[in-house]
Symmetry: C2
Amino acid sequence: MEKKVIRVLEKILNVNDRIADELRQDLKEKGVLYLNLMSSPGSGKTSLLERTSSFFPEIISVIEGDIQTTLDAERLEAVGITSFQINTGAFGGDCHLEAGWISSALEELELKKGDLLFVENIGNLVCPAEFDVGAHLNGVVLSVTEGEDKPLKYPLAFRNSQFCLISKLDLLPYLDIDLQRMMDNVLQINPDMDIIKISSKTGEGIEDWINFLQEKKY
Amino acid sequence: MEKKVIRVLEKILNVNDRIADELRQDLKEKGVLYLNLMSSPGSGKTSLLERTSSFFPEIISVIEGDIQTTLDAERLEAVGITSFQINTGAFGGDCHLEAGWISSALEELELKKGDLLFVENIGNLVCPAEFDVGAHLNGVVLSVTEGEDKPLKYPLAFRNSQFCLISKLDLLPYLDIDLQRMMDNVLQINPDMDIIKISSKTGEGIEDWINFLQEKKY
């Protein structure tokens, strides 16, 4: 029995990977930089996108992944970001997004050269990392409140990402946490990781993040 | 193809549910209270167990679920808690624990009447709630840093739990968060939820948690 499940899952993953590769290629040709944000629940992905929007007026689109609710999409709409909500609760409560769903969502978004497309993946440090959604860059948002050890405990998301945003810097004075050790743990899993330290609340580090996007943008 | 996957998954879930029911019954007969703790990564489950241990010397055992590392088990050992580590990374990186694995782990733990058994589930607000591990009581640990909306966005973990620990109360003064709204959202998903507000750092609310355990304990 088990063998059969594995074979079917492999087939699904193969299809996902093919669609992901097509998405990556298509959006590159179109001149749209596509970034996938992964994290635990409540790490500050939506707050970061709210902050980011004012620096890139009218060129940011977001595909929101959630099990339930359109709360995040509503927050983004309030700051003028075009967003498309995928609720996996409607089809079984999946804990990740897949490339095919992004592909369908893109039919609803009118993207043009120079645009930035973000996927705000489902708040989960495990499953989303197992499915390539076809992004040009994958990123992990890691809040300082989560503790230094998380890169070691959830290595796949860090291994499969090119950048890591360490968020909620403003809370550092109130935590027993060694920020350097947190960064060392990130680099232990992925020595090539670009690490950017930010606080969406105070704005600290946001300039570095904006420069990073400007540099990668088509 | 899809139908086949669903049928196989149902079969796996049926087996899991049967083992879960047996575990629940066996441990009840033995007089061991069995609690399953679920949460996002870094919500403070391990810190809570460290705090709890001094109130119940020599009667707490913990089964630790992680994808990788034995970091949490080592922390518990340091405060004298007997623990058993399950690393799902060894068999595919599963994002949840299953009843059968708990059943195997129990063969390694010598439990006696009056003991408390905790499962510290994998840090993930989605998948663990989909698998009954046979606990007498399921609980969610929700850190105030995660934001008020999490019960609405990840309802299953809250629906399937009997108690909710709102953690890291000490950080409240530094957050823009409405604690009452967070509690209202918990109760909106699960009106029967026992909510206990705690800070493992300052000890605030720990007495309520200990009283809760004393009351439920066999």
